[in-house]
């Protein structure tokens, strides 16, 4: 056997990933950082003018500070609305799916069907459901003698509607992840708990949830990363004003702000600064995650 064959092969096998990563992952990462210190126009991308920290100060205290802090707050509130109920519901549904059921296969597939729907298709349909004229949401409220609500216009109503779209698409997906984890919990733990007189609810709380902790942490992280980058739902929910997150920026997220600054206002440098702030946020989340994981491990 040729020596080269064994020595070089591993590197040849992993090379495609690292080439793609270098060209379309690492280089853009650094280039975005460099761009964030420049003024760059969308229409003349090769002319970058050095402006130092200007893009960042514009965002924190300057002319667009109002939009930036608003978008940061919206990212947090919209993220919480879209993530917390979703994961709690997914946990409950997984628990039910873990029983012996009729039509188990159908239920699983039905719950996962929204996952196969694109952001664009789902958001357009929900925009119709929450439409102020003849939308199904207001018709339903009308049946109970309430409403109509101008869903898109209000800060909380619009964020609620958008979080419904996110929740619809991802609850079943997370439920199946939890279900898989639940099925790996050793039966003996439940039997022991039952012998100790634990009710089913107590078993869920004291056996299932602790055993699922790593999986729950995993879904929290993935969902948080997804929520931090929320873009398609608010963009399309707003129709004509979607690129700025509503007429009053009432559901503008950081993802929308980056798009609006870069590709509507032609401030690619400022958009890069927003992107780097998002990156810093995610690093922070990752750090908190690592700390929690370490503490969890130490406590066990």
């Amino acid at each position: 056997m040729h020596r080269w064959d064994t020595k070089g092969t591993p590197y040849a096998l992993v090379a495609p990933f690292f080439l793609v990563f270098a060209a379309f992952g690492l280089f853009p990462l650094l280039y975005t950082g460099w761009l964030s210190f420049h003024r760059v126009s969308l229409y003349n991308v090769d002319r970058a003018e050095w402006v130092g920290l200007r893009n960042y100060t514009d965002l924190f205290t300057g002319q667009v500070a109002h939009y930036f802090w608003n978008a940061l707050l919206n990212t947090v509130t919209l993220g919480a609305l879209a993530t917390i109920p979703q994961l709690l519901m997914a946990l409950g549904l997984a628990h039910l799916l873990n029983y012996r059921l009729r039509a188990r296969g159908f239920l699983r597939t039905a719950l996962l069907a929204p996952y196969a729907t694109s952001v664009a298709a789902a958001t357009l349909v929900f925009a119709l459901i929450f439409s102020p004229e003849g939308g199904m949401a207001n018709w339903l409220l009308g049946l109970f003698g309430a409403g109509p609500v101008q869903w898109e216009a209000g800060r909380w109503t619009s964020q609620f509607a958008i979080s419904v779209i996110v929740t619809w698409r991802w609850t079943g997906y997370n439920a199946l992840i939890y279900l898989a984890a639940m099925q790996a919990v050793p039966r003996e733990l439940y039997e022991a708990a039952a012998l100790d007189g634990a009710s089913r609810w107590q078993q869920f709380l004291h056996v299932t949830v602790p055993a699922l902790r790593p999986t729950i942490l995993f879904t929290v992280i993935v969902s948080t990363i997804g929520a931090t980058q929320l873009f398609g739902e608010p963009y399309l929910f707003g129709g004509q004003s979607g690129h700025q997150g509503g007429a009053d920026h009432q559901y503008e997220t950081l993802g929308i702000l980056m798009y609006d600054q870069g590709f509507h206002s032609s401030m690619l440098g400022r958009a890069s600064a927003v992107a780097w702030i998002m990156f810093a946020l995610l690093l922070l989340i990752g750090l908190v995650n690592a700390l929690i994981t370490r503490r969890l491990r130490a406590s066990q």
Partner: protein
């Protein structure tokens, strides 16, 4: 149960069952009527918007927003579908569907192939710098897409790829998730003895990969392929930036054009949504069981 790998479908199956009583799902109790009702309602909530897309897409612009809303399909489905087929995204949904199919197919074939190769190297081969490289692969999982869109936009413009489908394919030729997914699978699925035996028989690396690794990896390739296809088909941020105003859009870009245009003809918009979703629902109906399995395997990446 304290490892960072929360789930493993395979090791779970390897645990001997005390009896057949519990069934394959592993739940020890039979679900009561309440559980069935709650799950039924959840399934209804999942499916109803899809059904209602069909209803809305088969009405006309007035009927779709009437009160009470229509609950049964109307007679305009083919008229609305024909309209988006001819007009959506400038050149029609037919072109967009073709473009999305091309992009998703190219991305899927490339991602699956390169992921198997790199995943195999990380799972079974020894080489200097492996740990560092694997750490690098993992750390890229959390880099947000927003971070690269501005430079990629500039890059594609300079490469003359603006509005070009290649701009949608190149950045995702292989993904960190794919590599990691394959590594997890292959480290358990490929017996080291088999590799050594093939080596002793004088097979070179290419032969080993072709005759041992690819056949063994086939089920995981199917799963990764489907996940990748769905993800590529549904990708939104990057296509909307690089293909904005394009006369040669993908499905998602064409749909965005329908949704952010000046006129709001909901029956046409929902017809577009239906047409853009149908191919994936079809894939889903055919392979749903595998996708369900794939997602639960994907959870192993935690």
């Amino acid at each position: 149960m304290t490892t960072t790998t929360p789930v493993s479908g395979r090791s779970h199956r390897a645990v001997p069952r005390p009896s057949a009583r519990a069934g394959k799902a592993g739940g020890q109790h039979r679900a009561g009527p309440i559980a069935h009702v709650v799950l039924g309602l959840a399934a209804l909530a999942s499916l109803f918007p899809l059904y209602w897309t069909l209803v809305a897409a088969s009405t006309d612009s007035h009927a779709v927003v009437s009160s009470p809303p229509p609950m049964l399909p109307g007679g305009n489905l083919f008229k609305n579908l024909a309209y988006v087929w001819d007009n959506a995204g400038g050149r029609g949904m037919g072109v967009a569907l073709l473009n999305s199919t091309l992009v998703a197919a190219a991305v899927t074939v490339s991602t699956v192939t390169f992921s198997v190769l790199a995943g195999f190297a990380f799972a079974k081969l020894r080489f200097r710098g492996k740990k560092v490289m694997l750490g690098l692969v993992l750390s890229t999982l959390a880099v947000p897409a927003q971070l690269s869109v501005v430079p990629l936009f500039i890059l594609t413009k300079n490469l003359g790829l603006g509005n070009h489908l290649g701009a949608l394919i190149l950045p995702v030729l292989v993904t960190a998730f794919g590599v990691f997914f394959m590594r997890q699978f292959l480290s358990q699925a490929v017996p080291t003895e088999l590799l050594e035996a093939a080596r002793v028989d004088g097979a070179n690396s290419l032969r080993v990969i072709w005759h041992v690794v690819f056949p063994v990896a086939r089920p995981a390739m199917a799963v990764l392929g489907m996940l990748t296809f769905v993800q590529s088909w549904n990708d939104f941020l990057w296509p909307i930036i690089v293909m904005n105003g394009s006369t040669n859009p993908t499905v998602q870009v064409a749909l965005a054009g329908l949704g952010t245009g000046w006129s709001t003809d909901w029956s046409v918009i929902t017809a577009g949504a239906l047409m853009g979703t149908l191919p994936l629902l079809l894939v889903f109906a055919l392979f749903g069981r595998h996708i369900v399995g794939g997602i639960t395997q994907g959870a192993v990446k935690g």
